[in-house]
Symmetry: C2
DNA sequence: ATGACAATTATTCAAGCGTATAATTCAACC
DNA sequence: GGTTGAATTATACGCTTGAATAATTGTCAT
């Protein structure tokens, strides 16, 4: 048996690699398959480093969830960009319903983490943070859109509209991520944009981004 | 150490108890926490019985997923009942968005199973069966509703409408199951019924069941 | 140069896992 | 009323797990 070559890396790189390896392991083998040995192997290090940088496996998994949540948020934020509210909302819908967000592995990861939200208080806290941001962003887009149409935003109405649009997007995201082959016939992005327009009482083609 | 009293039960009772105990364990401790010992303890039997009735733990978990899927389907089917299509669809929405379907533990279970659909072929097959039935039922309700309005159902349109309504319901189901306290201000059933009416191009109050 | 120290690897440990098998219990049959 | 056999319990086994600790390596200040 030969000793693994000793190789130093900055702590931030090690943490990043371990988190990424954890996400890959969970996506491939499930939460139970993300063992310290498997994660370390995939990250190209020794299991002891997990203890060094995350103290326990539990904290590593929490960090991985936080990373996934942040990555998904960032992907959408980046896609939304600047411009008219109707255009930003259309881009918001597009980003939510195309790769990399729509992806079987991403859905597996999301489901694995969601399943532990009711079990683990730490995971629940991470979930709360990420999800609230997601909802608030949709709400602010719809708020801006209302202003753009020359109407006075009624907070309660904006709130409920954002819940409806978010639910529609979430549901489509799940269905298309989990069984893309079942919905081949539908072009999900324009379809979702039209549905959202209906929910908001807009003309069907007012939420296109292309 | 005292020997557990020997108590015979019909095989069907044993299977039912073990499946129920498995679901409880997964809801409480996650998939990884549903060990043969914990499940047997909760079912009031000895771990050996799992092997006897399900051969492996894997098959027990698959049976538990099938049971959850069947239970959810049955709860909705029972609630839909008979009557006018608009009434049945309204009841379909109500049943999907109230207890026992809307429940934190049910969501935990569902997420745990979904997270293993991409990993385990057996789970994928069970998922496919259950989910297809769910989609087909919504589709047939919308089909009947179209006829009821005196229109000729266009298959592609019915199909896409059912996808949209299903997505809306799924999304609301998840949001309300996972954080009911965040949406206290909204009466989800009439809200969902109005949203579905919008998606289908109906008048807002045409999908009420009460 | 070298000694201290942090980073990394290697080893060890007790606990818990799924499974396999052996030992018991009870009811039904002849 | 023994006997057989299925249902149940109990025990044993090999393996994997997360964690703890020991051994090693390289860097950097002095």
């Amino acid at each position: 048996m030969t000793r693994r070559p000793y190789h130093r890396e900055p702590g931030s790189v090690r943490q990043h690699d371990l988190i990424e390896a954890t996400l890959e392991c969970i996506a491939e083998f499930g939460l139970a398959g993300a063992t310290v040995r498997e994660v370390a192997l995939k990250a190209g290090v020794t299991p002891g480093l997990i203890r060094r940088y995350f103290h326990t496996k539990e904290r590593l998994v929490e960090a991985a969830y936080a990373k996934l949540s942040a990555d998904m948020t960032a992907a959408i934020n980046e896609a939304v960009g600047e411009g008219a509210a109707c255009l930003r909302l259309a881009r918001f819908i597009r980003a939510s319903l195309t790769a990399p967000l729509v992806d079987a592995k991403t859905l597996s990861l999301w489901a694995a983490f969601i399943s532990s939200v009711n079990i683990d208080a730490g995971m629940a806290a991470i979930h709360r943070d990420g999800y609230r941001g997601f909802r608030k962003r949709a709400e602010s887009l719809i708020h801006d859109l209302t202003l753009e149409r020359g109407l006075a935003p009624i907070p309660a109405l904006v709130h409920s509209q954002s819940i409806a649009v978010n639910a529609l997007i979430d549901g489509l995201w799940i269905e298309f991520s989990i069984s893309p082959e079942e919905f081949k016939a539908i072009d999900v992005v324009p379809f979702a944009q039209e549905c959202a327009a209906r929910l908001l009482g807009l003309e069907p083609n007012s939420l296109k981004d292309k």
